[in-house]
């Protein structure tokens, strides 16, 4: 009598090789991502200052955090930066994609050109824009040299406006990427849908607004996800462009966390702010993942 023993038919190596190969990366992720998240969570409940210590203080670090004016500036800046960066980047990207979709000549060249900023690191973007926006060096000086001496563009050194320079650089960097995503989506739309709408009498803006862009809803949401987590994590762009200044006027949570934990000897507060950032990202990503996974299970 023959009996079917599934796994027994495979050799030892076939059974263990996949697990063996995956083990190192699994272990590393477990320790260095989830382990350190847990450790950071623990630190946020301790009295750690310059160095970690394990004296339990409960929610005291969170109370300090919420009482800190600088932390609130960082949160407000995150909303300004996040909102404008996502909205502006998306609008610019969609506009570029729609224009490039009009079967124009040299599309390949233009597409590469617009996509290039994405190839740069945020540090390079920040530094380049710092020079351009520097009143004594960049745009303002150029216009002055042309003879318009009354022209001022000092957002970089103006505490009220400095966060908006980060927005400008951020949009510049990301809109090409958004464009690429939407262009791919637009190319997936059946040509005859547009022809049908033309015969129905719709103008080109109306065709895009009523028919094409609604059909790109999935692209829209993926883009939103990507831009949102870039916005919340944004650190390097701010560090390179304004360094959080002038003063702490352009601080965002990530730079605040860095400053607290590593330069101001308030590791407990830094850990608490890092936990708050994690919670913010989770608040966005978890519902998204949930809906995605549920969607794919139904499909």
């Amino acid at each position: 009598m023959t009996q079917f023993n599934g796994p027994a038919q495979y050799g030892f190596a076939e059974r263990w090789l996949p697990r063996l190969v995956l083990a190192p990366s699994f272990l590393l992720t477990l320790v260095f991502v989830y382990g350190f998240i847990a450790w950071n969570g623990y630190l946020s409940f301790t009295a750690s200052r310059l160095l970690p210590n394990y004296e339990w203080v409960g929610l005291a670090q969170y109370e300090t955090l919420f009482a800190n004016e600088r932390a609130w500036v960082a949160v407000k800046n995150l909303f300004i930066f996040g909102g404008l960066f996502i909205g502006g980047g998306m609008a610019m990207g969609i506009l570029l994609a729609v224009f490039l979709d009009q079967k124009i000549r040299g599309e390949g060249v233009l597409r590469t050109l617009y996509l290039y900023p994405m190839a740069l690191s945020f540090i390079v973007t920040g530094t380049a824009w710092k020079w351009m926006l520097n009143p004594g060096l960049g745009l303002e000086k150029l216009v002055h040299d042309w003879g318009f001496t009354s022209f001022t563009f000092d957002w970089l050194v103006n505490p009220d406006m400095s966060i908006y320079t980060v927005v400008i650089a951020g949009i510049w960097q990301s809109s090409g990427f958004v464009m690429a995503l939407f262009l791919a989506g637009l190319r997936g739309i059946d040509d005859s849908i547009i022809k049908a709408a033309q015969i129905d009498g719709a103008s080109l803006p109306r065709i895009y607004w009523r028919i094409v862009l609604p059909a790109l809803r999935p692209v829209f949401f993926s883009t939103l996800m990507i831009l949102a987590h870039i916005a919340i994590k944004s650190f390097d762009l701010v560090m390179a462009l304004t360094g959080g200044g002038p003063g702490f006027s352009s601080d965002v949570p990530a730079t605040f966390m860095y400053a607290s934990a590593f330069t101001r000897g308030q590791m407990g507060v830094g850990a608490a702010s890092a936990m708050m950032m994690l919670a913010t990202v989770a608040a966005i990503v978890v519902p998204y993942l949930y809906s995605e996974l549920r969607g794919s299970r139904n499909a």
């Binding site: 059946d190 005859s192 849908i193 022809k195 049908a196 709408a197 033309q198 015969i199 129905d200 009498g201 719709a202 109306r206 009523r210 028919i211 609604p214 059909a215 809803r217």
Partner: protein, 363 residues
Amino acid sequence: MGALAIKNVTKRFGDTHILKGIDIHIDAGQFLILVGPSGCGKSTLMNIIAGLEAPTSGEVQIGERVVNDVAPKDRDIAMVFQSYALYPTMNVRQNIAFGMETRGVPRKEQEETITRVSKMLQIDHLLDRKPGQLSGGQRQRVAMGRALARNPTLFLFDEPLSNLDAKLRVEMRTEIKQLHHRLKTTIVYVTHDQIEAMTLGDRIAVMKDGVIQQFGSPEEIYERPANLFVAGFIGSPSMNFIDCHLAEQGGDVGISLQSEGGVRFVPLLDGRRFADRLGQKVILGVRPEQIEVAEEGEPALECKVHLTEPTGPDTMIFTQINGKEVIARVHPRAAGRPGDSMRLKLDVRKVVLFDPQTEARLN
């Protein structure tokens, strides 16, 4: 009254001539079929009629109006696409209403039209569904509903049935024909399927390489094809082409056909017309159903059956005449088995002759 006139329309992309002087004229209420193999320019011609592409030269008239410089939306046309082209994010109701909404039709009138059209096409229970939730046949109906809502002077159908499965295709074909009988609107219909062309059309334009090969009624196209291409393209199984020579025997002009049973002379009707071509090569065109089983005592060709293909009502007999494979459509009871010999005769009243050089019909 003329409904559509296409006058010497050409279309060129660089050095590629897509359309080389198309002339078509149909009357109001007629069903025009543009048929041809892929790449023959029929879809380009359709786009030119719709105004989605501009002709390089020539004139398009819809009704009494030259529409060369009129935008698609102002041509008073409606179009049904092969891919249905439904707006994916709108439900059926919105899909049908979109055109009326764009033209500023009052809401009450929109509602009435949607009700009327959806009842006519039996899609009234689907109005709140999205296109993604519909089957192919239902999408096809919605696409037709959207066109009907416009109530145009000219309907354009661009291979509307190509994406449906075989059974549904036949059903929808009948429905389109019924719709045409009821509405009596002029229809231009593009297809590569010669059965659709024959069953639906009042007028058929057979196209190849950007040229209209023949323009006429289905009967004309079938009975009297203008050239070898039309003869071979229309009809299934397609027409048999037999190479032969014109000869004279006993005062009659005819052709001699050789089969396994020997050579036989077949006189042609009105054969004296070809007296000046005696001895020359011609191509004899004979449709499978024009080869019949001969009665007892009738002169006939002894043919060996190579293969049979029963289709149910008829059986296709594969045999050889003049070294060419020939298909005869006979009654299943009369059909021999492979290896048998059968006595066949041609219906000489219906056979056609083609010139092997010009490929044009001779008789």
